[in-house]
Amino acid sequence: MPMSKTVQELNRELADKLAEDGRNNPHHVYAGKFVGIANGQVVVVADNLNEMVSRLRQVEPNPTRTFGVEVGRDYSVVEEIWKVS
């Protein structure tokens, strides 16, 4: 019998799906938006990070039960950080 998923897993799965859908469809309804997820559901759609964080915190004060994604951003792009010796 499969174990039930945690809130973090549900949030992450939904964020992955939104990110993938946004990558494949530039006209996605959330394209270019910051989407806030809480307890496995989309609860905030914002134009910028500041607005998303603020409204998400009002809906769910516990950050471990939340997740955010910028729909349309390609998260597979490698960001280079030079070595600090």
């Binding site: 990070l49 955010g68 490698v78 960001e79 950080i81 030079w82």
Partner: protein, 132 residues
């Protein structure tokens, strides 16, 4: 225009940001290497910090990101409230959570973050600063 300057540390330009530790909001200063070569302007990331700082500050988890170079692989990111009091700057930014920050520093300020401001030594070779 307001300006914040810091002395070069270990031969490197640095900036100092203030994090708010949840839930009381106690300010915690962090010294970051100012690295215009870290990340790009279109990249979503602005700072790299110890992941423990990200968690202690009650950061909102965001999609993980892939790094190359000094740090290789997938790393978690968080939206964290970051302040620079001298500039009256206080906003959430996207921060990469590192298992180990660079030796001697608390993290790295990437090009995208530095480029929010006018940055440079403002004519003093032993300082680095930001100006709004």
């Amino acid at each position: 225009m307001p300006r914040a300057v810091w002395p070069v540390s270990r031969g490197r330009p640095i900036i100092e940001v203030v994090l708010s530790v949840a839930p009381g909001g106690r300010p915690v200063p962090r010294q970051l290497i100012a690295d215009t070569g870290a990340g790009t302007l279109p990249s979503g990331i602005e700072l790299l910090l110890d992941e423990q700082d990200c968690l202690t500050c009650g950061g909102t988890p965001m999609q993980p990101i892939v790094l190359g170079g000094a740090y290789v692989g997938s790393y978690p990111t968080y939206a964290i409230q970051v302040g620079i009091p001298a500039l009256a700057f206080n906003q959430p930014v996207i921060v990469v959570g590192l298992p180990t920050p660079p030796t001697g520093f608390d993290g790295i300020a990437c090009f995208r973050f530095l480029n929010r401001f006018i940055y440079g030594n403002f004519g003093k070779s032993t300082e680095f600063g930001l100006e709004l």
